[in-house]
């Protein structure tokens, strides 16, 4: 599967106001059209669709009759999973051009009175019997518990977690569409109110409108398109629980499995990575990715992020768009990891552009540290 498929078109939308004008299918289709235009392809080229709730309704809206369809929903990592499945399907010859799309507008929905009530929970979901009666606040509380365990086991500090928010904000300062661009300090993070202790408000991702799409095709077809192809060098997914009480070890995510498998497929390792796009729903989430993907040893994530190592000028640029912490986070953020990784590898990121990156990792995290999905992406030079 290595380098048999490439991402050839991307689009995303977000605003410093946190709100977008379009919503719903209208916004999704605008993203699909923008990503296809970016690729130099048209709707008629599409024969595969990915969507987190209904790839069938999406295809119907687009007026297409795909031969590959994927409605997988693993929470925020869904889009990495979609890309993995799409790459496999393209390599297997099931289809040739796949689009994946996401749009969510929680912020403007709330303001416009289009308040979508939190979807009814399936009454047969064990979480309703075994976790929610205790007041478990989702999604914060499970991540806060993971942070508490990491702190107790490895001595990780709130200051170290705050470093991640500070470094990410520095990247956001160079993204004109980021929700928050003003610099913050470790003290600012620690002074922000607790949401779920030990996580402060500034340890938590935003709630904003946002949307994005990607287009993937075969390596053969990718060569003749509008933009430099970004190849899928490795892809893997793993989940080891659904609800937090079933997570085997709160300091180790299934990203250890997805990461090592994706790197093995790519024939690369952490030392080869020029950019990590690591899902930052919370500061602790990003810290766990650094350990589980092998950028540092288990338990050493705290010292690793000190001194701005993931900030502009640091040795491991992470979340150069400003992340879910400062750029945008509409609910399921994984799409934006892919879009930024592709743009960086194309050299199209303007002020925040890294110097000629060749390898980027987009690492999605879904539900409550439940489902991790890792994409290793590379330029033509890595193929």
């Amino acid at each position: 599967m290595r380098a048999r498929a490439a991402i050839v078109g991307v689009a995303d939308d977000a605003s410093p106001t946190g709100e977008l004008e379009r919503s719903g299918r209208d916004l999704e289709v605008a993203m699909v059209a923008a990503a296809l235009e970016d690729a130099g392809l048209t709707r008629d080229d599409v024969d595969g669709v990915c969507h987190t709730s209904s790839s069938m309704r999406l295809a119907e809206a687009l007026g297409i009759h795909p031969t590959f369809t994927d409605s997988t929903n693993t929470g925020g990592s869904s889009f990495e999973v979609h890309a993995e499945h799409a790459a496999a399907a393209i390599a297997a010859g099931l289809c040739e051009v796949v689009v994946g799309v996401y749009a969510s507008t929680p912020r403007s929905d709330r303001r416009a009175g289009r308040t979508r009530r939190r979807p009814e929970r399936d009454p047969d979901d064990p979480i309703v019997e075994w976790e929610l009666p205790y007041g478990l606040r989702l999604p914060m509380a499970p991540y806060a518990m993971a942070a508490s365990r990491h702190m107790a086991t490895f001595g990780t500090t709130s200051e170290q977690l705050a470093e991640i928010a500070v470094s990410t904000r520095r990247w956001a300062s160079m993204n004109p569409r980021a929700r928050y661009r003003d610099p913050i300090t470790v003290d600012d993070v620690l002074a922000s109110p607790y949401e779920c202790e030990p996580l402060h408000r500034l340890d938590c991702c935003l709630v904003t409108d946002g949307a994005g799409a990607f287009v993937m095709t075969s390596a053969e077809r990718a060569r003749d398109l509008a933009k430099p192809p970004v190849y899928v060098l490795g892809a893997a997914t793993c989940h080891d629980h659904s609800m937090i009480s079933q997570m085997p070890d709160l300091t180790t995510t299934p990203g250890r499995v997805s990461g090592s498998r994706a790197f093995a497929m790519a024939g690369l390792g952490p030392a080869d990575v020029d950019l990590l796009m690591g899902y930052d729903s919370f500061t602790i989430t990003a810290l766990l990715h650094l350990e589980d993907l092998g950028f540092c040893a288990k338990g050493e994530g705290g010292p690793f992020v000190e001194g701005g190592r993931t900030a502009p000028g640091g040795s491991l640029p992470m979340n150069t768009n400003g992340g879910g912490l400062s750029y945008t986070h509409p609910g399921m953020y994984g799409m934006f990891l892919i879009v930024e990784a592709v743009r960086q590898l194309r050299g199209a990121c303007g002020e925040r552009q890294l110097p000629e990156p060749q390898v980027a990792v987009a690492h999605g995290s879904g539900m409550v540290l439940s489902c991790m999905s890792t994409l290793v992406l590379g330029t033509q030079a890595t193929v």
Binding site: V128, E129, W130, G135, M145, R149, E197, I244
Partner: protein, 145 residues
């Protein structure tokens, strides 16, 4: 049915498949665990089969009712508040002496006193239908505080 969520109000758990003995025992404030006879190990949450071997021979045994805090959070703003305005409160994963982990609350002490590895013992919060919700409270020298 495992229950129904009513945002902003106390949520009372339902009784899911295979969990009847667990909830019945709570009527007499007794904590029981399902053991797989083939694996000779307990599991949690209760279900009609063993999550290790899928075996269906389950034996219910009383638990010691003691454990330690494995991980916790102090919630400062809750969506479903089990204590009707009692924020902040502690949500914790408790590792029972039998080795299984369950989500619960740590009550009976200021939130600031809770830490990982704190020894705790079960205590019971009445539910509206005569069952009880197992919660935990710190123990001092083996005795609930």
């Amino acid at each position: 049915m495992n229950g129904a969520v009513t945002p902003g109000s106390r949520l009372e758990p339902g009784v899911g498949q295979g969990a009847e003995p667990f909830w019945e025992a709570t009527r007499t404030r007794t904590l029981v665990l399902p053991w797989c006879t083939a694996c000779d190990q307990p599991f949690f949450y209760p279900r009609p089969f063993c999550p290790r071997c899928l075996g269906r021979t389950i034996q219910w045994q009383p638990a010691a009712g003691t454990g330690v805090v494995y991980a916790f959070t102090v919630e400062h703003r809750a969506e479903v508040d089990p204590f009707a305005g009692g924020e902040p409160f502690v949500v914790a994963l408790v590792e029972l002496a039998e080795g299984v982990r369950m989500l619960s609350n740590v009550v009976g002490c200021p939130p600031g006193q809770v830490r990982v590895d704190l020894p705790v013992a079960v205590c019971w919060e009445p539910l509206s239908d005569g069952r009880h919700l197992p919660q935990f409270t710190p123990v001092v020298a083996g005795v609930p505080s």
